[in-house]
Amino acid sequence: MTSREKRTSGERTTDVLSELVAHLRHNRTILREEWVRRITESRLLTTMTKEEIFAEATSVFDNYVEVLETGSVEALQAYARNLSERIIPRGVDTPEVLGIVLLLRDVLARSLFEKYQGDFALLNRVLDAYEPAANRIATTVAVGFVQERERVIRQQQEAIRELSTPVLQVRERLLILPIIGVVDSERARQLTEQLLRGVRSNRAKVVVMDITGVPSVDATVANHLVQTVEASRLLGATVIVTGLSPEIAQTLVTIGVDLTKMNTVGDLQGGIEEAELLLGYKVMRLTESAASEASN
């Protein structure tokens, strides 16, 4: 008996939903215009033109009704991601996106209220069916937007990191990698990748990696630096590490990092001199060289 009642009420919810969907479809033009009016009135999406807002509003509206009808948010998720990709570069932020979705919820709710206000019991059932779906839609769009923003931020972080560690060629086959600032695992990974590409494209034989500007090194970072050195050797390049501060030297010895593979020289200048020696360069002052030629 009870299970039967439940089924009946379940069927009724479906009926109510499909009636609701039909109502929204029928009034699509009016509701859409009302929504856009409210968006403009609330000064949301000010960076977009009226035409753009109307076009997006149409898509959101149709997606919205589709979710109410099918109960599946997959298409809306994809659309929300796509929408976010387009509007994030234009400076649209989270409160705005949340704001417009909530406005649409309100516009539709009012329209339902207007239609069913004569039958209070029916209105209640309509709202019972509408509210959870509407909230789910608002959440889906907001979450999709925030996730897309996070993805953009991650990409920007990656780009900033890349800029923060330049690989410089100072002579043919000699690269310098000055590392400044805190090195975490992510940055270590990126600078290794950049260095390896640099070694390959510049056909470098020697790399001077200067860590004067690195404030501290723990076991993880030290192991990353050792890996960088090892990976460069696999490409046939020798790495000279310079600028190990007394503190870092002490840390490395204390934590017992295997430094036998590290070729270290006190400072950057010494490192470059050592590298030039390895490459067979001899640098001397012009006056000295004249003197040495005269004596020959």
């Binding site: 290794t192 990748e193 390896l196 590409r197 070694v199 390959r200 056909r203 034989k205 890996q227 090892e230 990976a231 460069s232 050797r233 696999l234 490409l235 046939g236 390049a237």
Partner: protein
């Protein structure tokens, strides 16, 4: 997949042409170790430019190859390890420690030539 082995002067050059299964790599190793004696070669270059992955087996086989070649009186140079491959190798702890590496075939040959020159001038 057969790896062609080219004899050039005192050196043997093996250019890997595509991904190799374990058995192919073992066969390459055995052929090189055999030929280095037959041709009285002084150096062996293995060009791995096309390999898009070098896993523990590949690294271990190249490492034993180099040791066996050394026992036969020649030196091995591995050339052409790609940046991405090197990056993955070191994270796996595969560093090919006791083997000489060079950027590419040209560099590998330069290295072997410089060794030969040094060897001759040292003897003379």
């Amino acid at each position: 997949m057969l790896v062609p082995i080219l004899k050039q002067g005192d050196y043997l050059i093996a250019s890997i042409q595509s991904s190799l299964a374990d058995a192919d790599l073992i066969r390459l190793r055995d052929q090189l170790v055999e030929q280095v004696g037959r041709y009285r070669s002084r150096g062996v270059i293995v060009d791995v430019t096309v390999l898009d992955v070098m896993d523990s087996f590949a690294v271990r086989t190249l490492s034993t190859l180099a040791q066996m070649i050394m026992l036969r009186g020649a030196e091995t140079v591995i050339v052409g390890v790609q940046p991405d491959v090197a990056f993955a190798m070191v994270q796996l702890g595969l560093t090919l420690d006791n083997v000489k590496t060079a950027l590419d075939l040209e560099e590998g040959l330069l290295y072997l030539n410089s060794r030969a020159k040094r060897g001759r001038s040292g003897a003379g």
